[in-house]
């Protein structure tokens, strides 16, 4: 079966970072995601997670290596075609964003008719379905700026769903959410994955979220893929301690037997190998 996405020895360097001591934001990254898979990219700040998301959605183009979407080199696809296959849910919308929920979700239909001035009835149907899936139908006429963070998150997710992508990439989907909404988003992602078979790639700092929802976890550090595998294999206390540079304990969750990561206070006093680099991810 063709992987939904496959990265082969991908390297990337920001043009302005030539003099940076770590010239490459991403180096020698290879992985593949199968249809229907849920995977999470974890790693410290500046480990290259966001760069990876940008490369997958062709906001950036690799310096070396290739990224293939369903077997086709992403560099050869027109931009709209990329957007029909990969949808990205950013952390939030820009401040002052003036559109209503419905208008926002309909924007997800642009890749399906980039030359059209108006949306078609199919576009509207897709938007209605997407809003229903994320339970924002009741908010359709509300301006996005007036919604709470959780509601906004669901609207952006609905917009991504309206794209009808093969690969759904979520950048810190729970960052702005309280505990209850975090639970809701996780449940929603699971349901979507189960119902439509969409491949989901999460980027998260929340290791326990990763452990809970992922089939596979990709651990990154300093632009490289350190380990890839099921949660059990990646969420190893020694490995995490070396990557994050703090004291970590891992035990099992009672019901699901998935790993559960705890930070141990006080963290180790010595300076850590994964010290905070200046660039944000």
């Amino acid at each position: 079966m063709t992987p939904v996405v496959e990265a082969r020895a991908v390297a990337f360097r920001y043009p302005s970072a030539a003099s940076d001591r770590r010239a490459f934001a991403l180096d020698d990254v290879s992985f593949a995601l199968s249809p229907g898979e849920i995977a999470t990219v974890i790693g410290p700040n500046a480990s290259g997670k966001t760069t990876l998301v940008r490369l997958l959605s062709r906001v950036l183009v690799p310096v070396r290596g290739t990224i293939a979407l369903e077997g086709e080199d992403v560099a050869r696809l027109v931009r709209a075609e990329v957007a029909r296959r990969v949808a990205v849910v950013p952390q939030d919308v820009p401040a002052g964003f003036p559109y209503t929920v419905e208008e926002t979700v309909l924007m997800g239909r642009l890749p399906h008719g980039p030359g059209r001035f108006f949306e078609t009835p199919e576009d509207r149907a897709a938007a209605v379905a997407a809003m229903a899936a994320t339970e924002v139908t009741a908010l359709a006429a509300e301006p996005l700026a007036r919604l709470s963070g959780g509601e906004r998150q669901r609207v952006i997710l609905a917009r991504a769903l309206a794209q009808r992508p093969r690969l759904l990439v979520l950048d810190e989907p729970t960052a702005h959410l309280d505990l209850r909404h975090q639970v809701e988003v996780v449940a929603l992602l699971r349901r979507l994955n189960a119902e439509s078979g969409v491949t989901v790639l999460l980027v998260s700092h929340d290791l326990n979220l990763a452990a809970e929802v992922s089939h596979r976890i990709l651990l990154m550090a300093a632009g490289r893929l350190v380990r890839t595998g099921p949660p059990d294999a990646v969420l190893d206390a020694t490995l995490l301690e070396s990557v994050y540079g703090c004291r970590i304990a891992v035990d099992r969750r009672p019901g699901s037997h998935r790993p559960e990561v705890h930070l141990i206070w006080p963290p180790r006093a010595t300076s850590s190998p994964g010290a905070r680099p200046p660039r944000a991810t």
Binding site: P15, R54, S57, R58, V59, V78, R79, A80, E81, V82, A83, R84, V86, A87, V88, P90, V93, P94, G96, F97, P98, Y99, T100, E103, M107, G108, L110, P111, P114, R116, F117, F118, P143, A145, R146, Q163
Partner: protein
């Protein structure tokens, strides 16, 4: 947004435009009676009559110039605001206005009036100035990767400042006798354009407008940010290029043919957004019509408030524009939701 809603709005604005144009045909300092205007319009007036000249050769072309200029400025303003995601952006921010003004002042200085320019007057100089400024802004702003909006804004402001300074230099060189004309021109004034320049004006305006309006849906998506727009399949750089060229063409022609008229590109799109919402597919075409109506009304005022003396239409638009701008600033937070 549905086609039906757009049609309704545009039809309404179209009616308003026709009404304003008809009203403008009937008023003026010549004291032509409405009956005489009607006679001219229905072709029942004597061929050599003054009424004919006033209505067909003065008022009609001036109305056309006002509508074209207003439409062009409003579309350029709306487009540029969408492109920069800055609701206070104005076509003059592009630096193109200053470039055109520089060209016009230079034209005065080198003693225009050579027969080559008889038909277009200052316009050709202004147009070249506008294009030059546009190209410079473009070159300054474009990087290897594309045309980042913040660079565009910054380059526009810088180039604008440079050309303003250059204008000051030229003005201090200019003959006192010509100074009045230059300052008059800098205020922005409409005049009845002959058919050929009017045709040039109209074609450039239509071309520029098409470049912008045709990408209204993409401009909507751009409100999400450049990265999000890319992720939705919008070529943000190409879009920026296209809208910039369109806005520069529109601004440049307007400045060339009628002078730098401020505030139309700011007021009209804002007023429309407050009423019609933010969708550029609605705002851009509506701005075309509403801008035409606005500038036509402003010019009709300018022609008649102090008749037979004429105010500069730029003075009227600024007079309405400045208080509106202050209102915008004061109520910015309230407006954010509907911007």
């Amino acid at each position: 947004m549905t086609p039906r809603r757009l049609t309704l709005v545009l039809a309404g604005l179209g009616i308003a435009l026709v009404a304003a144009a008809v009203a403008a045909l009937f008023v003026g300092s010549a004291g032509v009676t409405p009956a005489q205007v009607l006679a001219v319009l229905t072709g029942r007036s004597p061929a050599e009559g003054v009424e004919r000249v006033v209505v067909l050769e003065l008022r009609l072309p001036r109305i056309a110039a006002a509508v074209l200029a207003g439409a062009a400025l409003a579309v350029a303003g709306a487009g540029f605001q969408a492109l920069t995601r800055n609701p206070l952006a104005d076509p003059s921010v592009l630096g193109v206005s200053s470039g055109a003004a520089f060209g016009a002042v230079l034209g005065q200085l080198v003693g225009l009036g050579s027969t080559v320019m008889d038909s277009l007057g200052l316009a050709s100089f202004a147009f070249v100035g506008a294009l030059a400024a546009g190209v410079v802004v473009y070159l300054v702003a474009s990087t290897a990767g594309g045309l980042p909006v913040h660079s565009l804004l910054l380059a526009g402001v810088i180039v604008g400042i440079f050309f303003s300074a250059a204008i000051t230099v030229l003005i201090s060189l200019i003959d006192v006798n010509r100074l009045g004309g230059v300052i008059f021109w800098l205020l922005g004034n409409l005049s009845p354009l002959p058919a050929a320049p009017l045709a040039v004006f109209a074609s450039v305006a239509v071309a520029g407008g098409w470049l912008i309006v045709g990408r209204a849906r993409q401009l909507n998506v751009l409100a999400l940010g450049e990265e999000a727009a890319l992720q939705l399949g919008v070529d943000a750089t190409g879009l920026a290029r296209r809208v910039f060229v369109g806005a520069a063409l529109l601004t440049g022609t307007v400045v060339a043919f009628v002078g730098p008229i401020g505030f139309v590109g700011l007021i009209v799109p804002h007023a429309l957004r407050m009423v019609l919402g933010p969708d550029n597919r609605m705002i851009l075409p509506a701005a075309g019509l509403a801008g035409g109506v606005f500038l036509l009304l402003a010019d009709t005022l300018a022609r008649n408030v102090m008749a037979p003396s004429e105010l500069s239409v730029g003075v009227i638009t600024a007079f309405c524009g400045a208080p509106f701008f202050i209102y915008l600033m004061r109520s910015r937070t309230a407006l954010v939701t509907r911007l």
